[in-house]
Symmetry: C2
């Protein structure tokens, strides 16, 4: 790389991000203990001194990768859905955005490293755990709100929140971008799977003032009603 870019400049931010992504890939391949600072510098095309322009220490680098992963998550998934008034729409959009983040947004390495926060210790570990818990709490309270408003049937919010998370966060283990299932289909299937049996009134045309896409489950139900009639 050329001479170090100015701190706070776009180039610096971009290179910093590239360092985090490259380090994440290497730590995933070799394991955190086995990947040396020299290895990481080599992989980034930097000298060790050059690398230390972007990071403070190896431990700090790991924390930075996790904070970077959580930044991207909050920016792309959590913040855009907070303003959605209807709790079910908020959850469905959140599911959509989180699935896209796992299939397209995050590198696989960041996803894996986020799962392995046990490597961190002390305050760093507490910091990442607190950020993750904020997401769980958002999900739990949104499920509670949806039950309270009669939008979904009664569920245990904790089980609903972690089932939602388990389905989504497991995706990186099996999904192949070049496979036969496009991410858009994955989103639709998972939304129908999860909310198909939960919603008490699937198409809330009154509430939103527009026609919502009717889920496959709702279609099946209306077919059954037709048969019964």
């Amino acid at each position: 790389m050329a001479r170090a870019p100015e701190l706070g400049s776009d180039v610096h931010r971009e290179r910093h991000r590239a360092v985090l992504e490259t380090a994440a890939r290497l730590i995933c391949e070799k394991g955190y203990e086995a990947a040396s600072v020299q290895d990481i510098a080599d992989a980034c095309g930097l000298t060790k001194a050059g690398l230390y322009y972007y990071i403070r220490s190896k431990e700090d680098l790991l924390l930075e990768i996790m904070n970077y992963g959580m930044d991207v998550f909050e920016e792309r998934v959590l913040l855009p859905v907070l303003t959605i008034a209807d709790p079910v729409e908020r959850l469905k959009t959140c599911m959509e955005k989180n699935i896209f983040l796992v299939t397209e947004g995050w590198s696989k390495e960041v996803t894996i490293i986020l799962h392995e926060h046990e490597t961190l210790t002390g305050a760093a570990r507490a910091q990442i755990n607190a950020r993750k818990k904020r997401y769980v709490h958002f999900l739990e309270s949104t499920f509670e709100e949806a039950v309270r408003e009669g939008r979904i049937r009664r569920v245990e919010p904790r089980v609903a929140a972690f089932s939602f998370l388990g389905m989504i966060l497991w995706i990186y283990k099996w999904f192949r971008p070049e496979g036969k299932i496009p991410s858009e289909q994955l989103v639709r299937e998972m939304q129908d799977l999860f909310f198909g049996g939960l919603e008490t009134v699937p198409a809330r045309t009154k509430r939103t003032g527009k026609t919502e896409r009717t889920s496959a489950a709702a279609k099946a139900r209306s077919r059954n009603k037709e048969k019964a009639a």
Copy 2:
């Protein structure tokens, strides 16, 4: 420990199992690389020579822990459900048994090690992967069968199978046996969550010849029908 029990005896089997559970706990705590054979022997209350009566090598031990985890899984989850004629009942019972295995049957350590099969290499890795794939294939083909028989609405079997797995295998990350949700409730909630929106005819009294427990989702649907009538 006393003198070595006879190979193939109940005592040998029991001690062998105890060695695998103890080794799993240690490998989880320290990491596979950091946990030495001496550490594992100490934790088991055996000399190194005594430990080698139960294991062939450290690599082999890791493979054995995974095979042990898969043995317990097949014995407690997969085999008992294979003979259930109705595909939806087969999947629901499978979900119940797998949840109980994660919350009670497997130690947390075996669960975690099963997730981390990347540590294995070559033939050992292929062996464990093949055993895991058998489960995925069982789930996919059972979802296909349920669609074909009109028991559930159309779903992508691969998405359904991995959503089912993600919900269940994520449990070890958040579930606390001493927490406020008993495993029986967890099973009911997850079955309703997953199958509530899938089943086209929730209570198949004709097929099984007995009244099935009506899911909460089905109850909600019939309430809606009553309102609509």
